[in-house]
């Protein structure tokens, strides 16, 4: 069992905010990273010449940025110093690029979904697998868990989530995920990351979970068993995670499986919100509750037979179901 790589965070004097945007971690690279895909809090890309819409948007973006920068800036500096300068991350993570995405995620986290987080102290230092329920049609839940670890965890930690192989075939999306530190969900990738004492987020329900319709909200789908073998082989503790609130962001009533097969997508959800037109594309501003449970340490080597692994899977699944139920009970209303 490796000792945690991240030493206790050393307090670093704050540097002026203007340095934030520079590629501190990517010092040897001269050309700036490519233009970010998500322009949530953009510095210049709004049209400068007149136009009421442009002015309002610029004003909004600046306010948003100021609001986030005050706290996010501090955390971001810390991540930079913890990861240290060096070559490109082997998995394609790029802090200079991810910064924009995290700004956007932070806005969603604080303002849109107003996340309430519990049990962050349960996350052990060093390697661990965060195992969560998956819901909400688009993987905002993964984004919110990762944001919680950056904004609210002490010290801030980078979460790598295991994305669908399908996402790697999509232009723009695949690059965006890679630059934000997301990794294609393959055991070999997991192994390398765990050896580096990183935090990995897995959704054992996979596409089945995220695309389920609203009538089955908060019922866990069947779990894959790969994560248990990974945890055993790499002696990584499992932290059960429950996300409540994501189920209602896009209430889906139907999954067009046939169409999904044709276009090669895992699912094509149909939400009554489409009746609202373009507005229906926005997720509903439900309140997210994210709960981290006590870590589960499994005993074994990873070469157990399927029976034993299935037993471990049941234990983890029950822990998440239990955590979900308790979080749901405490919730007063979907938006409150």
């Amino acid at each position: 069992m490796g000792a945690p790589r991240r030493a206790a965070p050393s307090r670093k004097p704050r540097t002026p905010r203007s340095r934030l945007g520079q590629n501190v971690a990517l010092a040897p690279l001269d050309p700036p990273p490519p233009a970010p895909v998500v322009r949530a809090a953009p510095s210049p890309p709004f049209p400068r010449r007149g136009g009421a819409v442009g002015r309002v948007a610029l004003e909004l973006a600046q306010r948003l940025r100021a609001a986030i920068d005050s706290e996010f800036g501090r955390q971001y500096e810390r991540i930079l110093t913890e990861l240290g300068p060096g070559d490109f991350d082997p998995f394609g993570f790029d802090l200079g690029y991810a910064r924009y995405a995290v700004h956007f995620a932070a806005a969603l986290y604080r303002r849109w979904f107003r996340c309430k987080v519990r049990g962050l102290e349960n996350i052990p230092p060093g390697r661990a697998l965060l195992v969560s329920n998956h819901s909400g049609q688009i993987p905002i839940d993964g984004m919110m868990i990762a944001t919680a670890l950056i904004l609210d965890h002490e010290p801030p930690r980078l979460v790598r989530s295991m994305i669908e192989k399908w996402a790697a075939t999509l232009p723009v999306v695949s690059t965006f995920f890679a630059r934000c530190g997301q990794v294609v969900g393959i055991p070999e990738n997991c192994r390398i990351l765990l050896e580096r004492e990183e935090l990995i987020l897995v959704f054992p329900e996979g596409a089945r979970g995220i695309s389920k319709t609203i009538d089955r909200a908060y019922q866990l789908e069947e779990f894959g068993s790969g994560f248990v073998r990974l945890a055993l082989e790499n002696r990584a503790p499992i932290v059960p995670v429950a996300v409540v609130g994501a189920e209602e962001q896009y209430p889906s009533v139907l999954n067009l499986r046939a169409l999904a097969d044709v276009i090669g997508a895992p699912a094509v959800p149909v939400s009554p919100l489409v009746l609202l037109g373009p507005l229906g594309l926005l997720p509903l501003p439900t309140r997210y509750h994210i709960a981290f449970g006590r870590p589960i340490v499994l005993g074994g080597e990873g070469d157990e037979d399927d029976e034993q692994v299935a037993e471990h899977v049941r234990v983890v699944r029950a822990a998440i179901q239990d955590l979900l139920r308790r979080t749901l009970d405490e919730r007063k209303s979907i938006f409150g």
């Binding site: 490109f88 082997p90 394609g92 790697a168 075939t169 999509l170 232009p171 695949s174 690059t175």
Partner: protein
Amino acid sequence: MATGASIRTRTTKSGARAAERSVILTGVCGRLGRLLLRQLHREGRVVGIDRRDFPDAPPDLMHYRLDIRRKACRDVFRREPAQAVVHLGVMHDPRISAETRHTWNVEGFGRVLEYVAAMRIPKLVLLSSAAVYGARPDNAQFLLEDAPLLASGRVSDIRDLVELDMLAQTFFWRVPECETVILRPSFIVGEVHNEIYSYFRLPITPRLLGFDPMMQFVHEADVVQALRQALRPGVRGIYNIGGPGVLPLSQVIARVGRPAAPVPHVLARGLLDRLWRLGFTDFPGREIDYLRYVCMVDDRRARRELGYAPRKSLDETVASIREAFGE
């Protein structure tokens, strides 16, 4: 015996040297062959076999200008008491028809294997490539040596190399007394004329819109170093040769300094194929998967067992792409 006029021999400087066991290099006239030769011929006797002429060969090289598939080649192997064979003679030229190339490559290497077995040569080194794993969306970020070789599913040009690699793998158990080594380096850069060279030589470097895979490059000097390490007695097995680091393709293009144009991937293949057919480029459009998905290798085994460590830094390695154009 068919030792005809096609064999042009050069006399060695001393008869004493002829008695030592030599290293046979196939494809010695290629860039890597010359680089390896430059290092080996100072230490011992080197025999070169290549179809091409070698006008400025060092005087102590015994160069046989012949086709590996010819019978005369067998006599070379019989006459030279070789301690090792390094097979670099893989034909890559995309302009030669796939069928001719395939026959030449597979048949040629089959002969080499046959002679190595018959003459009980104790060492065989094949320079394969990391490209044999194939660029696929579900690739591990760093492929290990035991990953399946799936390249030929989509890129038929790489089929030759995959087959040679497989042939060499059967040699592990067919002739266990021979120490067989397969090296699978990532994209080799420097002055080697290969696909990646042709790609960066395009006046405008095409990129796939929205794709920017991480890539590995290895400098030719480091490949030569790995080849020499593979020649050490006792070394056998398959080794990935990664390189000094990884960079996203966009960064590499920026450092090479040519203008780049993002092309939607649905159009890129047809576009590049057309350019290729018209003779504008030697980069065949079939290989765009390598610009779309990761195909990188985990070379920890080579670092551990061969003692391989790239001497060229990532910056130097990438800079050598630009330097190769003489800019």
